[in-house]
């Protein structure tokens, strides 16, 4: 039994943000699908995202796809965000947001399956998005498809190639569904000490990177 919507007793969302139209447009909930590989912290990323959303006063549900857990094997995790309690338990088959932790997954996995019109896609890559050969992305708004060199930022700040919390900084910048502060809070909820500090700094760097890329893509339409 879910707690009633009125029992939230948490601060309301801060100032209306660009991405908050997603919460209205998607009806019941915003559906996020994360694709990664075993060892990249995909399941943890979904969990941290749900904690960040909880900090923002939203209802959130995160769960893994429960495949075999092997290093390097494709992994999926899901997260739903909503202003009201979330009841459904089915995997996300019609995502509003895709987070791709490893662009090479395109060779093994139908990454864009069920992608909704107007969806957002965040890709961990150092390549220009146009060079990745992701055909479905051409149909999306240019400022809805963004990249962040999350593995490189993770190496720089954490000393190891774990892109998950870095990508959450990028997610906040891309969708504005959660604030960077909420992402920081979620990271500190999970990690402590120097590891938390490094993840917080890496998420902030990703937030800046994606904010700049987004603004660039808004100003300079496809040519």
């Amino acid at each position: 039994m879910e707690p009633a919507a009125g029992s939230a007793a948490r601060p309301a969302l801060s100032a209306p943000a660009p991405g908050s139209d997603l919460l209205r447009a998607s009806g019941s909930s915003v559906q996020i699908r994360l694709h990664g590989r075993g060892g990249q912290g995909t399941v943890t990323a979904a969990e941290l995202l749900s904690v960040a959303a909880f900090e923002e006063g939203l209802f959130a549900q995160a769960f893994p796809s429960f495949g075999s857990e092997r290093m390097g094997a494709p992994v999926e995790a899901y997260c739903r965000l909503s202003r009201s309690p979330i009841r459904t338990r089915e995997p996300v088959s019609r995502p509003d947001v895709l987070i791709i932790q490893d662009a090479s997954l395109i060779e093994q996995v139908d990454l864009f399956s069920g992608l909704r019109d107007g969806a957002y896609v965040l890709v961990n890559t150092t390549e220009p998005l146009e060079d990745l050969g992701f055909p479905p992305l051409a149909a999306l708004r240019r400022d809805h498809v963004l990249s962040v060199p999350a593995t490189e930022l993770a190496r720089e700040y954490l000393g190891r190639p774990t892109p998950n919390s870095v990508l959450l900084g990028g997610f906040a910048a891309m969708t504005r569904l959660v604030s960077l502060g909420a992402v920081h809070h979620a990271i500190r909820h999970r990690f402590s000490g120097a590891v938390a500090d490094a993840n917080v700094a890496a998420a902030a760097a990703a937030f800046e990177h994606v904010t700049a890329e987004r603004e660039g893509r808004v100003r300079a339409p496809a040519g």
């Binding site: 039994m1 879910e2 459904t88």
Partner: protein
């Protein structure tokens, strides 16, 4: 205390708040996170007065909690799937001896074929053992049902099993209002056993009983278990008052008023079912749902009134009796009795297959149109079945079916990707 927390950790918190004196368990997916979290609480000194015993098998784990309960300790364990089968003899003994232990069953399919994912075949394998079996719909429900489970077990001197869907709930991170120590203390008085092994007042427990009294001892077990149907609603009301939210209950009707078609289900699929009911209601279809929270003892009268008025009852269940069909469906049909409703059995979600809203909506539409069969295996891949039948017909040594089907699946994938 609202928290965004993993189901397993939330349940570990609830169990710790119940102040168990002995926790004896053996890890198995998808139960592992629960007992790891409880073990960590004992080690960190957060859960005091508790002996955590890492058993060397499930048989030892259940035997350990039986021994602990027999000397008057509040005892807890958790398992899943093959782990439950391995402790089966002791599962029956806990009930037969009338020992109020609490067990979390992180529901997982039974093999073979081996499968770590969720369905209800493990819970169904012990439905006749004499335990109270409660099914959680959400992680909030799982948390609240554990507090209720200890209270119910000790009030009636029967063991209670809280079933929560493996992975779907145990590994889901969602908002849960965790009970405080003061709340749980107010709901759970100290354990006063009906029978206790005490060196100062020696007695034995577990006598061999012959034909002269076996029926009567068993009858008393039946009577004791049935009392849960009266005690549960009273306890649930007091828990709801202290926790300030709906708790427990026997059955939970959802939008059943004037419903022509009612879905009956247990566990986490009810969330998806309720969303489907809302969508069909928005289109003007008269559909509803009933969740069964207390599966054992079976709340036949409460279920009968919840489905009264429905033309068709669709029982959506995550297990079946091989060679028969739906298990819950048969019990629902027996309860429906004179209501005249047609009872349909839909088997879904076996071995972790997702049950999408589209499947549930399709079943509801078929039931409304009168085209739903008496027994349906939802989303059955008939091409895989047909291929195996063809192989079997072609020659005697058709090979192991599981391996054959997996090979066909891979071949199908290759064809699709060119």
């Amino acid at each position: 205390m609202l928290q965004q927390v993993e189901g397993s950790k939330a349940v570990a918190h609830a169990v710790a708040m119940c102040r168990p004196q002995v926790v004896c368990a053996y890890p198995i997916s998808p139960q592992t996170h629960i007992i790891e979290a409880i073990g960590a609480k004992v080690k960190a000194g957060e859960l005091t007065g508790c002996e955590y015993i890492n058993a060397d098998s499930e048989m030892a784990a259940m035997s350990g909690v039986i021994g602990a309960s027999a000397v008057g300790a509040r005892a807890y364990t958790a398992t899943a799937s093959q782990g439950l089968l391995f402790m089966m003899e002791a599962v029956y003994n806990a009930a037969g001896l009338g020992l109020p232990v609490v067990l979390t069953l992180a529901n997982r399919a039974l093999g073979a074929p081996i499968n770590i994912w969720n369905d209800h075949s493990d819970a169904m394998s012990v439905r006749d053992a004499g335990w109270v079996q409660l099914f959680a719909e959400s992680n909030q429900d799982a948390v609240d049902l554990h507090v209720l489970a200890f209270a119910l077990a000790e009030e009636l001197s029967v063991p209670v099993m809280v079933c929560m869907d493996g992975f779907v709930l145990t590994h889901a991170v969602e908002r849960v209002d965790l009970p405080t120590q003061a709340q749980v203390d107010a709901l759970l008085p100290a354990f006063v056993p009906r029978q206790v092994l005490d060196a100062d007042a020696p007695l034995s427990i577990g006598a061999m009983v012959g034909p002269d009294a076996f029926t009567e001892v068993r009858y008393l077990m039946h009577a004791r278990l049935l009392r849960a149907l009266d005690v549960m609603p009273t306890l649930a009301a007091s828990h709801a008052e202290v926790l300030d939210r709906p708790v427990g209950g026997l059955v939970r009707p959802y939008r059943t008023e004037d419903a022509e078609v009612v879905v009956v289900a247990m566990g986490s699929v009810l969330g998806t079912v309720k969303d489907a009911v809302d969508e069909l209601r928005a289109d003007g279809s008269k559909v509803g749902a009933v969740g069964i929270t207390c599966y054992r003892p079976f709340p036949a009268a409460q279920l009968r009134s919840a489905i009264a008025g429905a033309r068709r009852v669709v029982v959506l269940e995550k297990a079946f009796s091989t060679g028969v069909g739906g298990i819950l469906s048969a019990e629902v049909a027996a309860s429906a009795g004179a209501t005249g409703a047609a009872v349909h059995s839909v088997i879904a979600g076996l071995g972790g297959r997702a049950i999408p809203g589209s499947t549930v909506r399709g079943i509801l539409r078929d039931a409304l149109a009168g085209t739903l069969a008496e027994l349906t295996f939802a989303d059955l891949k008939t091409e895989l079945i047909e291929a195996e039948f063809t192989r079997m017909a072609a020659g005697r040594r058709s090979g192991p079916p599981a391996e054959n089907l997996l090979r066909d699946l891979v071949a199908g994938e290759r064809r699709r990707h060119g």
